[in-house]
Amino acid sequence: MMRLPTFTYVGAKTLEDAVTALADDPEGTRLVAGGTDLWPNLKRRHQGARSVVGLRRVAGLRGITGDPAAGVTIGAMTTLTDILRCPMLRDGYPGFVRAVASISSPVLRNMGTLGGNLCLDTRCTYYNQNEEWRQSIGYCMKEVGDTCWVAPGSPRCWAVQASDSAPALCSLDAHVVLHSTAGERVIPIADLYNDDGIVYLTKSRTEILTEIRLGPAGARRSTYWKLRRRGSIDFPVLGVGVALELDGGTVSSAKIHLGAVHSFPVAATAAAAHLLGKSLTEDVIAEAAELAKDPASPLDNTDFTLQWRRRMVGSYVDGALRELAGLPPKATPSVHGEGALALEV
């Protein structure tokens, strides 16, 4: 049986408890929400902790308030299942809810939280392995090694951004609230992510993510397409979050974010810009899909081959845009989260 290392556990009751504990020893302390990412990482020893601060009993971090007309606030400790069971989120932010529906499996969604999902460590098949395996390759740059085995000449780590909700929330212009002993700040969610596989978040280690804020849903259409091997459990090897507004027949705003093909949820800005002011014809969509491949940098550190994943960026962006345009699909996504949405009504 794989065992956790020993650490000091702090069961925080208030946000103040938690931020104080973090401030005491920011380098040696880790937060735990649902634990579905932290515990495996500690068991495999790619993360270490002198102490772990549990957020489970902190009052006020779990729940969904507001409405799509005015905007919705989601507490960081809200579980993924809570989100799926919230009808107003389904109505207002279908892309986001669909992303959540396609995360892992129902048991894991009962445990995993939205805050944990957004702060999920980046992943790599040279890194998400047991300690004994990593010793066999002499470790890598994300740990004590000095080489990135995915791109041995590279000075940086290319571990993959693996959260499904992050690209969806980026495309919806969500904001996150960060809390520390120094106070509170609100930043656009896209700014939470750093272009680096190691220091993948911009937030400091003393900050706790407390809330996710979604603006008014308005007339925005959104969707999320996820590519993965199996119908459940698997992390994305590609995620496409798209949100669009149409004015008359033409696109007045567009956001496309790609997950799992870079160390952060990368914006396909040229593709999105290409749509602006145009109506969503098959040709326009196909052109945008081609442009979307450009910012993707899939490497050989997930399931499937990188060449194929790059090609799928085009197919999936094309598919997502066609769905929002009401056109019949060319490609069928490997998972759309429908089953989870039907189950959790």
Partner: protein, 178 residues
């Protein structure tokens, strides 16, 4: 030796006060400190579903729960499923051969119990989705799906004929996803 904690757990509606290493997971505490070895493990990393138990009625993976975080919560394991008689799920799993080696069975039973309590009339798609975090390497899932559907019918008080008989010897079966 590592630091120990003393905590009180509510397992299968019985209170138990136990001293155990502070860093142990619920899986370890159930199997090693409580002697409840009915809950199994296949990866200890959240990847297989074998260790599923109910925490406050929701299926969760006991390998990824720090035991002390669920002090006071209602924890249900396979050992609590049976009353004087087998639970309908246990009956249907045993009768249909939905447990072959039986190793995935305790976890799947717990996930299935939560499903039929929340959705007494699950569709076949619901059954597949609800159990999709639980791997079984023996059965190909078909008998499990049939057993859950049959048990749901029994729980609803329907007399519920044994479903597999109709599908024996080549009579077409319904689609798992349909």
């Amino acid at each position: 030796m590592s630091e120990h904690v003393t905590a009180t757990y509510r397992v299968n509606s019985e209170g138990r006060t136990i001293a155990h290493p502070a860093h142990h997971t619920l899986l370890e505490v159930l199997r090693e400190a409580c002697g409840l070895t009915g809950t199994k493990h296949g990866c200890e990393l959240g990847e297989c579903g074998t260790c599923t138990v109910l925490i406050d009625g929701e299926p969760q993976l006991s390998c990824l729960v720090l035991a002390r975080e669920v002090e006071g919560a209602a924890i249900d394991t396979v050992e609590g499923l049976e009353g004087r008689d087998l639970h309908p799920l246990q009956k249907t799993f045993a009768d249909l051969g939905a447990a072959q080696c039986g190793y995935c069975t305790p976890g799947i039973l717990m996930a299935a119990k939560a499903l039929i309590e929340r959705k007494p009339t699950p569709t076949r798609a619901d059954v597949c989705e609800a159990l999709s975090g639980n791997l079984c390497r023996c059965t190909g899932y078909i008998k499990i799906i049939e057993a859950v559907e049959w048990a749901a019918a029994l729980c609803r008080g329907e007399s519920g004929a044994r479903p597999a008989d109709a599908s024996l010897y080549g009579v077409c079966k319904e689609k798992p996803h349909g």
